[in-house]
């Protein structure tokens, strides 16, 4: 397959145009389902709303995000000069707001355009449809064919950005063992490590990743390496939903942990 060569093969026959508006069968009810189909969308609304509220609040705090050697994943990489922890100060002192706002847009975009989260919020928030065989809440529907939902096609760019962020968060996780007193391990070191691992799993299980690494190949036998990578990614991809939820919740918990330690609310237990 070759993208510069997108001429379509003409079809042999003319189909009859679809006749619209013919009467349908069954009763005029939005659904006949008797099971608890509304449970999943309700949970989705609950968890996502809680996360957004917490993340917004935490992102605007502009404080308690660093307690050596731990940095909150919401604030890393810290690219503003007003950071308490000088990591990569490429934004000048003119930036007065929380440095989290500069980077949170990337994970936000990544997750907003994610194929799994799309399913989750189209169902739970947009009700298009709320559940299978339950009526769509909208009278018109154009899907992702128009602006702004056409932007969903940018998912792979956010995937690339996600990899960059994962790289920094991995460095943070390693540094989380580098205490002012020398190498050691606290609960925070574990929290940030697990957080980094979960984010990598989320990225590696991403549909765009699976496509780019091997899915785009048509004849696997001619690309053995990409086939092997694709074979490894496929079972991860099947668990993308799991990684999406676990990594989302854990990244918030990681921020909360650093925040509690930094504010002195709790003490970080040191193992050695």
């Amino acid at each position: 397959m070759d993208i510069t060569d997108t001429k379509d093969t003409p079809t042999a026959i003319k189909p009859t145009p679809v006749q619209l508006g013919k009467p349908r069968g069954g009763p005029a009810q939005s659904t006949l389902r008797k099971d608890y189909w509304w449970v999943t969308p309700t949970i989705t609304v609950g968890v996502l709303t809680a996360f957004v509220i917490y993340a917004t609040w935490a992102g605007f705090q502009n404080g308690n995000y660093y307690y050596a050697p731990y940095i909150s994943p919401f604030y890393s990489p810290c690219i503003a000069s007003n950071c308490v922890y000088q990591q990569l100060p490429i934004i000048g002192t003119w930036w007065k707001l929380s440095p989290a706002l500069l980077i949170l847009v990337f994970p936000l975009g990544y997750r907003l355009t994610c194929y799994y989260y799309r399913k989750a919020y189209y169902r739970a928030f947009w009700w298009a449809p709320p559940a299978c065989a339950v009526e769509d809440a909208h009278s018109k529907y154009s899907g992702e064919t128009r602006w702004p939902l056409l932007l969903q096609n940018s998912h792979r760019w956010f995937f690339y950005m996600g990899l960059v962020l994962n790289f920094f968060l991995t460095i943070d996780a390693v540094r989380a063992f580098d205490f002012p007193s020398g190498w050691g391990m606290g609960l925070g070191s574990l929290v940030l490590s697990v957080n980094a691992i979960l984010l990598w799993l989320y990225s590696f299980s991403c549909h765009a990743c699976r496509h780019l690494c091997g899915g785009s190949v048509n004849k696997f036998s001619t690309a053995p390496l990409r086939y092997r990578v694709w074979k490894i990614l496929t079972p991860l991809n099947q668990r993308h939903m799991l990684f999406a939820w676990v990594s989302l919740i854990f990244v918030a918990l990681s921020d909360l942990y650093v925040r509690l330690v930094a504010s002195g609310a709790i003490r970080d237990p040191r193992f050695f």
Partner: protein, 638 residues
């Protein structure tokens, strides 16, 4: 194409003053009168009846010859019974065993059919099957692959070498989808859910058209056609325990019979050894021979591999006589002889029948088919995904852990329309037949995998020759309006009767009674006494058919559809029983308790059934002689 939806002059709608008005009495609901039923007429060169593997392949071939063609499908397109074929398509590609060639395939087919086959058909079939398989691949079929990227082939009953090209255990689905998509891409006109009720003949007793009805609306359609190709499949619906769907009512067999065609080998009905036996609702559902091909074995309630006790002399030299040798064969075909679990289907079905009758059956009246103890769960799920799914969903049995319970089920009709081997032409000018509706190819017993190859080999030949016949046809086919009117009147009779009347027959009840009769009297083991009784029962059922009355109107009315199908079912069952009564020997699928052995003299003849007036006439006729060079294949030591 000269397709018209207006009625041409020579086919004006009949006025039916003479219609059976006396039989109509005012019904409670709004009943229609015959004059409500005008029909549209379509004119085609070739009409293909049946859209399974044979019909689709024939339609493709005819279309490629440049004639105008219509494809009639009893169901929706792509739902035909071909989708139920599981194991594979037999063709001596030699990808797994390079010793395989058409001669060996031919020999296996003839011996499997107990030499009753039309040798020329068996030869053409064996020679052309590989090309047809490769052609399917070229049209998009995705067969499982060998390590070097060629089409993988699996072992199957009666085939000397691994010969069945397959796609897991859903080969029929792959084949029908491939052919369906090819047909659609060629722009073949399809009439879905359209059923032919009568073939129309001109004054020379040659084909000139057909009368059909559309299931969805219940309207009649008249097709004029220069040639008609029957590809309507089997007859299994007339038995209680069957692997066949409701469609297999022998519609094409009956149409041909009524049109005056010669029918042969009608007594040869195959009972597949392994159908599901439990739960009752799925009794008869097919369990692919691929289970045994991939290592499954048959056991009785004592845990014994009983097939070793049932090896017939004909196959003794090439069948393992110990479990050790049989097990070794799976990995080493060269140094071990094949397992008796993979003997031809008639042998295995009879053996299972005997085991059950002798009290060594499984709890639900079958025997055990065990692959769980012999292959890993991963292997079973990869090789037999539909079987795994089928048992899990329908019987609650995990075949990777527990043995299946299986028993014989009515599966395939070897007999049918007598056709010319090369052209698939029947004895009626302009009438062609291919696939299960045609007789002769499989003799007295069909080998697994030979059905799918039969469909494409003879589907292609029939399509080609039906098109050529149409091209050389002089003038326009002109059906007799009186015949059309008569056919329509006959079909609407059940609708115009009062179904609440005292003597009204319920089609469902009638069908149940027919199926019970055939199951108990014309089943796997037959005797003169029972067959005679069956003929009497069928006569009684035919009388009851006259009184059939259905509820509702003509729109998608299954009761009415069944009432019409019953006519063919009864006609075909009568042929089967008559043939079975006359063949006083046991051969292949036809087993007579009162004549338990092969009779060499009867092996040289086909019983031919023709309809004369309202009576059936059966005559023994010598079957074609095999030429010496082919004869030699059976004399060589193997």
């Amino acid at each position: 194409m000269t397709d018209t939806t207006s009625t041409p002059e020579h086919l004006t709608s009949p006025t039916l003053e003479e219609s059976a008005a006396t039989e109509q009495k005012p019904a409670k609901g709004p009943k229609m009168s015959h004059t409500d039923l005008p029909f549209v007429t379509h004119n085609f060169d070739v009409l293909v009846i049946g859209a399974g593997g044979a019909g689709l392949r024939a339609a493709i071939e005819a279309k490629l010859q440049g004639v105008s063609i219509a494809l009639l499908s009893k169901s929706l397109l792509g739902k035909a019974h071909t989708v139920m074929a599981e194991g594979g398509i037999a063709a001596s590609l030699g990808n797994v065993s390079d010793q395989d060639n058409w001669q060996v395939h031919f020999r296996d087919t003839m011996r499997g059919g107990k030499m009753l086959n039309n040798w020329k058909m068996a030869q053409l079939h064996a020679q052309e099957a590989p090309d047809r398989v490769l052609e399917l691949e070229e049209w998009g079929a995705l067969f499982d692959r060998t390590a070097d990227g060629r089409i993988l082939q699996r072992d199957f009953g009666g085939h000397r070498y691994a010969r069945l090209a397959h796609v897991g255990d859903r080969t029929g689905l792959e084949m029908i989808r491939t052919l369906q998509q090819k047909a659609v891409s060629l722009g073949i006109e399809v009439f879905a859910e359209t059923i032919v009720v009568k073939l129309l003949l001109d004054s020379n007793r040659a084909i000139c058209g057909a009368v059909a009805y559309e299931r969805s609306v219940g309207d009649f359609i008249v097709f004029t056609a220069k040639s008609i190709l029957l590809a309507t499949g089997g007859i299994g619906r007339s038995w209680q325990i069957t692997s066949n769907s409701w469609e297999s009512t022998g519609g094409g067999h009956a149409l041909a019979l009524w049109a005056g065609a010669d029918m042969i080998d009608m007594e040869c009905v195959q009972f597949h050894p392994t159908g599901m036996v439990w739960p009752p609702s799925v009794r008869g559902l097919l369990v692919t021979e691929g289970v045994r091909g991939d290592g499954g074995i048959l056991k009785n309630s004592l845990g014994k591999r009983f097939m070793f006790d049932y090896i017939p002399p004909m196959f003794a030299s090439e069948t393992a006589d110990s479990e050790e040798e049989a097990d070794r064969w799976y990995t080493d075909h060269a140094k071990a002889r094949r397992t008796p679990d993979l003997l031809p289907r008639d042998e295995v079905a009879r053996a299972i029948n005997t085991e059950v009758k002798s009290g060594r059956g499984s709890p639900h009246g079958g025997v055990f088919l065990d692959i769980a103890s012999r292959r890993s769960p991963e292997y079973i799920k990869r090789r037999l995904p539909s079987m795994y799914h089928q048992f899990k969903e329908l019987a609650g049995v995990d075949i990777t852990k527990d043995p299946m319970e299986v028993g014989p089920t009515c599966h395939y009709m070897m007999g049918g329309v007598r056709v010319d081997a090369d052209t698939a032409a029947s004895s009626v000018p302009g009438l062609y037949a291919a696939g299960e509706v045609a007789g002769g190819m499989h003799g007295a017993n069909r080998l697994g995998g030979n059905s799918l190859s039969d469909l494409v080999v003879f589907g292609r030949r029939a399509g080609l020759h039906a098109a050529e016949y149409a091209k050389s046809y002089q003038g326009d086919p002109k059906p007799d309006p009186g015949e059309i009117a008569k056919a329509i009147a006959e079909c609407t009779k059940p609708l115009s009767k009062d179904h609440t009347a005292e003597n009204a027959e319920n089609p469902y009840k009638l069908q149940d009674d027919l199926r019970k009769t055939m199951q108990s009297l014309v089943g796997i083991i037959r005797t003169e006494h029972e067959l005679t009784q069956a003929l009497e029962e069928i006569e009684k059922l035919k009388e009851r058919l006259d009184n059939i009355a259905v509820q509702g109107d003509k729109r998608y009315n299954p009761g009415w559809h069944l009432a019409l199908d019953l006519r063919s079912m009864l006609a075909v069952c009568q042929c089967v029983t008559l043939g079975a009564l006359n063949r006083k020997e046991s051969r292949g699928g036809h087993t007579r308790d009162d004549y338990p052995t092969l009779d060499d003299e009867l092996g040289k003849i086909n019983f031919v059934i023709r309809q004369k007036g309202t009576e059936l006439e059966i005559t023994p006729e010598p079957k074609p002689q095999m030429p010496p060079e082919l004869q030699k294949l059976f004399e060589e030591q193997h």
